[in-house]
């Protein structure tokens, strides 16, 4: 009986086992993506000028192909903008990010990432 059950246990464990610790977690990818875009000045440029389509393209170009994203941009005194793919639920990572521009305007970003 053990011979019959053991393969099943191994299968379940391998199927649900967490990914290798060497692979970056999706929340780590989100943190790196936003900080890199900010460090390069890309985030400030696109947010200050309201070029949200360009920001969407920059994000798409930075993320791995198998990772999808949904970005919500909440200017402090403005209308909410959403870019990226529609998030249908499931395993994901959410990272919040605040960018303050030189004129004192604050943009509150919420980035949701998930794998295809």
């Amino acid at each position: 009986m053990l011979a019959a059950v053991l393969p099943l246990v191994v299968f379940v464990q391998s199927y649900y086992a967490p990914p290798s610790t060497h692979a970056p977690s999706i929340s780590h990818i989100a943190a790196v993506t936003l900080t890199t875009l900010d460090r390069n000045g890309v985030l400030l440029d696109h947010l200050s000028s309201g070029e949200y389509d360009s920001l969407e393209r920059s994000l798409r170009g930075t993320l791995p192909a198998e990772v999808l994203f949904h970005l919500t941009i909440d200017p402090k005194d403005g209308r909410r903008v959403e870019v990226g793919e529609a998030f249908g639920g499931g395993s994901s990572a959410t990272t919040r990010y605040v960018l303050v521009t030189p004129n004192g305007e604050a943009f509150y970003l919420t980035l949701i990432l998930w794998r295809v």
């Binding site: 246990v9 379940v12 199927y15 649900y16 943190a31 440029d45 605040v98 303050v100 030189p102 004129n103």
Partner: protein, 227 residues
């Protein structure tokens, strides 16, 4: 032990194994449907960059003001409050901050206390930022009329953050002189922080002030002698 007892034990064992498998499966599937949590290292990386942007933005604002150090401190405090507002359980307090400007240099120094209550993190972050502009070459070209000359300047622009220097990205320059000001047009971008810019102005100026704004919106001013 009878064969009936043995069979009963096997059924109990099988039942236990199945319950274990079911528990593991349910646990794994319930965990995977939740957002994966941010690690302390990731949230610190995000807060570090957010605070650095707040410092850069505050220096950019202050670089346009006469009272640069006061403006820097006030704006930084306001900006850090805005950053705190975007996260729960995060405290960012400026401990000391000062800014100054000189010929071809704008700099700001600050120390920020970070408290991350959810992860039990408490640490100090420091920034020493300096934008430096150097005119490495200047040429006088003939202008469209005898009264006008074109000044061609080669400009080196670098941003130093905590001792690490990198080429800064030029956004715009203008020349201010006794009888007015004129925008510079970019002639060449070498891609390493060196730029060549032209501006046409009235002939006979002894000096001009080259005012440049970088991609962080930090303004830096250099006096250029043209005699």
């Amino acid at each position: 032990m009878t064969s009936r007892n043995k069979r009963g034990q096997i059924y109990i064992l099988m039942g236990l194994v199945l319950v274990t498998i079911l528990t593991v499966t349910l646990l794994a599937s319930s965990r995977s449907s939740h957002p994966s949590p941010e690690s302390a290292a990731d949230i610190q990386m995000v807060l570090n960059m957010e605070a650095e942007r707040a410092v850069l933005s505050s220096l950019a604002y202050a670089s346009t003001r006469e009272d640069i150090s006061v403006a820097f401190s006030q704006r930084l405090r306001e900006s850090l409050i805005k950053v705190e507002g975007g996260h729960s359980g995060v405290g960012l307090s400026p401990l000391l901050s000062e800014a100054s400007r000189g010929d071809g240099v704008v700099s700001g120094q600050t120390e920020v206390q970070l408290e991350l209550s959810r992860h039990g993190v408490s640490r100090r972050m420091t920034w020493d930022i300096m934008l430096e502009q150097t005119v490495t070459d200047k040429k006088m070209l003939s202008g469209p009329t005898p009264q006008l000359v074109t000044l061609r300047l080669t400009i080196d622009l670098s941003l130093k953050v905590n001792g690490a220097s990198s080429p800064s990205i030029w956004r715009s320059s203008k020349l201010i002189y006794s009888s007015g000001e004129v925008e510079c047009s970019l002639v060449k971008n070498f891609g390493n922080g060196t730029y060549v810019a032209d501006a046409t102005l009235l002939a006979g100026q002894a000096y001009v002030d080259l005012v440049t704004v970088d991609n962080n919106n930090i303004k830096v001013e250099t006096r250029v002698s043209i005699t």
